[in-house]
């Protein structure tokens, strides 16, 4: 130990040469962090798309190949809404569309029901009213991307259905969620664009009091409705805040899923093997693929200091001591490099995001500093430098 302390006082490694290794470590860390932050940001945004927390559940069509393409009977919202313990029930018709040549998602909602699940702050114009029919409110990001302001008339072109609509922008909202990339419209508008009748919606989001009711109890109610449909008054009842009635539609209970909203979205990604762990592993693989460069840089440093190492060896320093000393000198650099790499990645991603280039399925990917990613970055850099130095030939 004392020998190592004495050796540390002897500065034989040249800073300029260490800098090359530090730059390579920084770039590798940046690469890893950009990959991990963006992939995990997408994963988090996608899974939180319908809401976070155990108290938000989704009633959806199991057969839908994407969360946006399934259809469920709209009147189930009314049935489920009357169950004790259900706080809010929001039927939603989600439809992709084209506005001003840009792809965007429009979500048909019943404003008062939607407001119980998502808090929206209107910062320009006004919010949708129950009697609005040809108006929309636009998320802040979408408004910036499409250059929209209240009062603007827009031509909306359908994607899933042969529809075109003329709508007026009523307000711009901010939700600090993926909703900021969407357009909200009265439920009918979503149904028109989705190409469905007034009796179906894409999904129903439900907020429940877990101490009173569970998702299983809601599924039971849905199953009961499938086997013994409740009698309707005329062709269907008109829920409050809705103009058109919801006709009773027959359905098979095995087609309907009732699940925690976040789990519902996760299950879609799971189908394709996309999990948080697999994305982190993928990012780590990207880092490991750049490890050969780090190893080469470490070897280069040792080769560049061959003369100094030989002098120290001839003065009696053991290989073990030299390797320990080199590690002690390089590790702080490595940690600084990985920190700079992570910070650089965040900066790069923020810039890309600022230019609207960080989008997946027309939704901005939010960047969040994940402690696990940062820790993994440090660990990988530490291991890589340690292995490279310890395996180095110091003859």
């Amino acid at each position: 130990m004392s020998a190592l302390t004495r050796l540390i006082g002897f500065r034989y490694l040249k800073r300029g040469r260490i800098l090359a290794l530090a730059i390579i470590l920084t770039l590798s860390s940046t690469l890893f962090s950009i990959t991990a932050f963006s992939l995990l940001g997408f994963y988090r945004g996608f899974t939180a798309y319908l809401g976070e927390g155990e108290d938000v559940i989704a009633i959806y069509n199991r057969k839908g190949s994407t969360p946006f393409t399934g259809l469920v009977p709209a009147y189930l919202a009314e049935k489920v809404g009357s169950i004790n313990g259900v706080i809010a029930c929001s039927p939603e018709a989600v439809a992709p569309c084209i506005v001003k040549g840009e792809s965007i998602f429009l979500r048909g909602i019943i404003p008062e029901d939607f407001a119980k699940l998502n808090q929206l702050a209107i910062f320009d114009g006004s919010m949708l009213e129950p009697d609005d029919v040809n108006s929309v409110v636009v998320g802040r990001n979408a408004a910036e991307r499409l250059n929209l302001k209240p009062g603007d008339e827009i031509l909306v072109l359908g994607v899933l259905a042969d529809r075109y609509l003329q709508l007026q922008v009523k307000g711009i909202y901010e939700s600090h969620s993926v909703m900021d990339d969407e357009v909200l419209a009265p439920l009918y508008v979503g149904q028109w664009l989705r190409g469905t009748d007034y009796g179906h919606v894409t999904l129903i989001r439900v907020k429940i009091d877990r101490s009173v009711v569970s998702p299983a109890a809601i599924l039971e109610e849905v199953a009961r409705e499938a086997s013994e449909p409740s009698q309707s008054q005329d062709s269907g009842r008109k829920p409050e805040g809705l103009i058109m009635s919801w006709p009773r539609a027959s359905f098979r209970v095995e087609d309907i899923g009732v699940e925690e909203a976040q789990m519902f979205m996760k299950s879609y990604l799971d189908r394709y093997g996309v999990t948080r762990e697999s994305l982190l592993t993928l990012s780590a693989i990207v880092f490991l693929f750049s490890s050969a460069t780090v190893a080469a840089a470490s070897k280069t440093i040792i080769a560049q200091h061959e003369g100094e190492i030989n002098v120290l060896r001839s003065l009696g320093a053991s290989r073990k001591l030299l390797k320990g000393d080199m590690l002690a000198r390089l590790l702080p650099w490595s940690l600084i490099a990985s920190s700079i790499g992570a910070a650089l990645a965040v900066a790069v991603l923020k810039v890309i995001q600022g230019y609207g280039l960080l989008q997946v399925v027309s939704h901005t990917v939010s960047i969040q500093l994940d402690p696990l990613t940062i820790a993994l970055n440090f660990v990988l850099v530490f291991l890589l430098v340690s292995i490279s130095v310890l395996r180095a030939d110091m003859e």
């Binding site: 770039l27 840009e102 359908g158």
Partner: protein
């Protein structure tokens, strides 16, 4: 001489692994892109088109010559043809006064095209109107009601002769014969837009080309359903991010090449010094280092492209064994492989430039022989 250096294999591997990241990511993105395009193709695309004013961003600010409809209807490829005038009018019904969207059309053809269910009859003259069910329910407008319409100082009184449902935006509109819309607008010569469909069986591309030739320059043709455009934008979003991300990989390749060149200079210091001592030109070490690094980058790029593509395909096969639902077949396009090769070479040249130039400045006097 320099190619025999023992570090060459590890140098090639360092570049190859970085290129493999790019190749595997590109191959997976290609597959996803293909899936998006295929899914887009599965949607039965409509044959409905709109002719709008050239500078129009919405229907209400669009103006098209009304005679254009007659011209288009003469084309054999055109199915139904609906010239329409869209106005936001003030509607007074009883004590209610509201702004509504009004559509002037040829009523019978319009409701037939919309496959609308009608309670009552389609409006036959300029004193009659049809109301969409959403609008009728919202403002309690019933069959037989008289409503007053005003637009730009002009007024008209119409009687509701039918309430309809079409599952389209017209359910929230007032639909009147074109004469009524012309009276309110005070202009018989223009319409807001022309909606038409292509006949079944005609080639879309040929028909569109023919129609475009017929149209004047001050109008534009828009397809109502934009599945292709949407799918394309999804791909572009992924590609844009991938391209930006690739910059970080190419930066790493440049840094790797710097290391490769620096290591070569150290390990070949004897040979380089000997060459200089024997009278080699000043540029010779530069050429040697440059050639070595670009050779490493070239071989590394080819190896990495193969490794990345095969690696992604192997991984997807293993994934298919574990999860039979996941059927992924990554592939790389030839032009992508070429682009990767060229960009790798460019990054490599950039990376090796500093050590290569430095090698020309080092004299042989201080070098060990």
């Amino acid at each position: 001489m320099l190619l025999r250096k023992r570090g060459m294999v590890s140098s090639i591997l360092a570049v190859a692994l970085l290129v493999a990241i790019l190749a595997s990511t590109n191959s997976i993105v290609n597959y996803i892109d293909l899936q998006v395009q295929t899914l887009g193709g599965l949607v039965n695309l409509s044959r409905t088109y709109l002719v709008l004013g050239g500078n129009a961003t919405s229907i209400t600010d669009s103006q098209v010559d009304a005679r254009l409809a007659r011209k288009l209807s003469n084309l054999s490829c055109v199915g139904y043809m609906l010239p329409q005038k869209m106005l936001t009018v003030n509607l007074t019904s009883g004590s209610s006064n509201l702004m509504v969207q009004m559509r002037g059309v040829e009523s019978d053809a319009f409701f037939k095209a919309r496959k609308a269910y009608m309670n009552g009859t389609a409006a036959k003259n300029w004193m009659e109107a049809n109301v969409g069910e959403i609008l009728a329910r919202r403002f309690s407008i019933g069959l037989g009601d008289e409503v007053s319409l005003s637009f730009g100082g002009r007024q008209a009184k119409v009687r509701v002769v039918g309430v309809f449902v079409s599952q389209t935006q017209s359910d929230a509109e007032l639909v009147v014969p074109m004469e009524t819309a012309n009276v309110l607008d005070g202009n018989n010569n223009t319409v807001s837009f022309i909606e038409f469909s292509l006949k079944d069986g005609v080639s879309v591309q040929e028909a569109v080309n023919r129609i475009v030739q017929t149209l004047p320059e001050n109008v534009k043709l828009v397809q109502a359903q934009q599945m292709g455009e949407f799918a394309q934008q999804m791909s572009i979003q992924t590609l844009v991010f991938l391209n930006v991300w690739s910059l970080a990989v190419y930066a790493a390749i440049a840094a790797a090449s710097y290391v490769v060149a620096a290591r070569l200079i150290i390990e070949s210091s004897y040979e380089l010094a000997m060459l200089k001592a024997l009278g080699a030109k000043k540029l010779t070490p530069f050429t040697l280092v440059f050639t070595y690094t670009t050779t490493v980058a070239f071989i590394g790029s080819i190896l990495g492209t193969a490794l990345g593509t095969v690696g992604a395909q192997t991984a997807s096969t293993i994934l298919r064994w574990i999860q039979p639902d996941v059927d992924m077949v990554p592939f790389l396009k030839a032009e992508q492989a070429l682009q990767t090769l060229l960009l790798t070479l460019a990054s490599s040249i950039l990376g090796c430039m500093h050590p290569a130039l430095k090698s020309t400045r080092t004299g042989h006097m201080g070098q060990p022989l």
